[in-house]
């Protein structure tokens, strides 16, 4: 499935990436939000995105995930050029190579927390039993009370939902991972567990791009910081 990659090649590589939004229902205003974004993340490396609120950290993450279209440039992730890939290729990339822990869990009604976490593994064709065992181990590590595992996270607190979200994101050992504020709304013990999960992912060779407002977390897991203010249109190069 994945193209042959040299061990030294970055897993995530952005070249000259630009983003514009055209607001057709507001007089066709064209807003340039990003230009010349260039970034390379190697296996085992964690790069933190920094910059003021509104500078484009989340926009960049969404573009890497294929959630936002790219206006110019290329975004290569584990052998797929996200900026040109068709929906089917992005679905395949997200299934086996690119994980995303967003800030908020999009909760499905009626699906128990354990299945929410096991789902990415089942989608990869793992036996359901094995997938649920792995899901249970992660939820236990993140201290989600076992009585909640069989319930839909719809009614969970923000912190509980976030832990389900993190367990889901770490269930499969993705070679590329995007983390949006993974330690927000967690207590000290769970924050520690999440940081350890990130360190373990790096040790097994995951390339990670993250947004961390938590400075201690940033210092501990990030190898480099990139200020996205440098990708503001007119300021590139």
């Amino acid at each position: 499935m994945t193209m042959q990659m040299n061990g030294m090649d970055p897993v995530i590589r952005l070249r000259g990436v630009a983003k514009t939004f055209t607001l057709h229902n507001q007089g066709g205003a064209v807003i340039e939000v990003m230009a010349g974004a260039t970034l390379a993340v190697a296996a085992g490396e964690c790069v933190g995105l920094v910059g003021a609120s509104g500078a484009g950290k989340s926009t960049l993450m969404r573009m890497i995930y294929g959630n936002y279209l790219t206006a110019a440039g290329t975004i290569e992730v584990a052998g797929t050029d996200v900026s040109r890939a068709d929906p089917r290729e992005i679905v395949a990339l997200r299934r086996d190579r690119l994980g995303y822990v967003s800030q908020f869990l999009r909760v499905l009604p009626r699906v128990p927390a354990l299945d929410v976490v096991a789902e990415p593994l089942i989608a990869l064709g793992r036996p359901e039993e094995e997938a649920r065992t792995r899901a249970a181990a992660l939820l236990a590590r993140l201290r989600l009370p076992e009585r909640l595992w069989s319930l839909s996270p719809t009614t969970f607190s923000g912190g509980e939902q976030q832990r389900v979200n993190i367990a889901r994101g770490f269930a499969h050992p993705f070679p590329a991972l995007l983390l949006d504020e993974p330690t927000a709304s967690l207590d000290a013990l769970n924050r520690e567990t999440v940081l350890t999960l990130i360190e373990e992912a790096k040790d097994r060779g995951a390339a990670i791009v993250g947004i961390f407002h938590d400075e201690g977390a940033r210092e501990r897991v990030c190898d480099r910081l990139i200020d996205v203010t440098g990708f503001t249109p007119g300021r590139e190069g």
């Binding site: 193209m3 057709h24 229902n25 969404r62 294929g66 959630n67």
Partner: protein, 257 residues
Amino acid sequence: MTDLQMTRPLFSVRDLEKRYGARIGCTGVSFDLYPGEVMGIVGESGSGKSTLLGCLAGHMAPDAGTIAYDGRDVLAMSEPERRRMARTDWAFVHQNPRDGLRLSVSAGGNVGERLMAVGGRNYGKIRDTATDWLGRVEIAADRIDDRPSAFSGGMQQRLQIARNLVTGPRLVFMDEPTGGLDVSVQARLLDLIRGLVRRMGLSAIVVTHDLAVVRLLADRLMVMKGGRVIEAGLTDQVLDDPQHAYTQLLVSSVLQV
């Protein structure tokens, strides 16, 4: 060659057009649907989405264009040939379960009848399969001999889904499958459809005006307006970064709760 490049489309549509006299029903529609893919078609009433679905499913004849299923030219097939294929390989879930069920026949009969249509003969086996399917769509086994006219709307819709999926189709067409149901019933039904489609590896085309339905069910999306596809792409991309003026209006018009 990757696995992805080696897979052939299950269903290929090129330049499909249907006119009602001088009026355009739909025109210039082309897409490929791959095995296991779920595609949503959204648009308001009159956008041509139902006309398109009717042409795709063989309920009406397009005026131009081609449709290929599993490499075979659907529009060139003889009527018996097309019917046989539609019976064994395709399924159609109507918005109104009364259009897809036989109300005078028991729930078990509604499901079993489809098995007989594709050659099932052993009564015991048919009844066992029907019972199994009622369970999968969360209808209690003791309702097997009840007529669907005694069922609630949500139950009728679940029974219609069982009747359609029991023969193991590869391609399912759905027309507003959750339309006309209470919101709480919709959620249960969506979750059920989502689970069945994923587990059976079905390809599906779902027509709806409800963006929440496509976000939950569909991998990709086509947005229709005035009989034409004005935007297409990955579902979350089209909904979160819409490019066309109409799609932007559609997305921004949804009430947030």
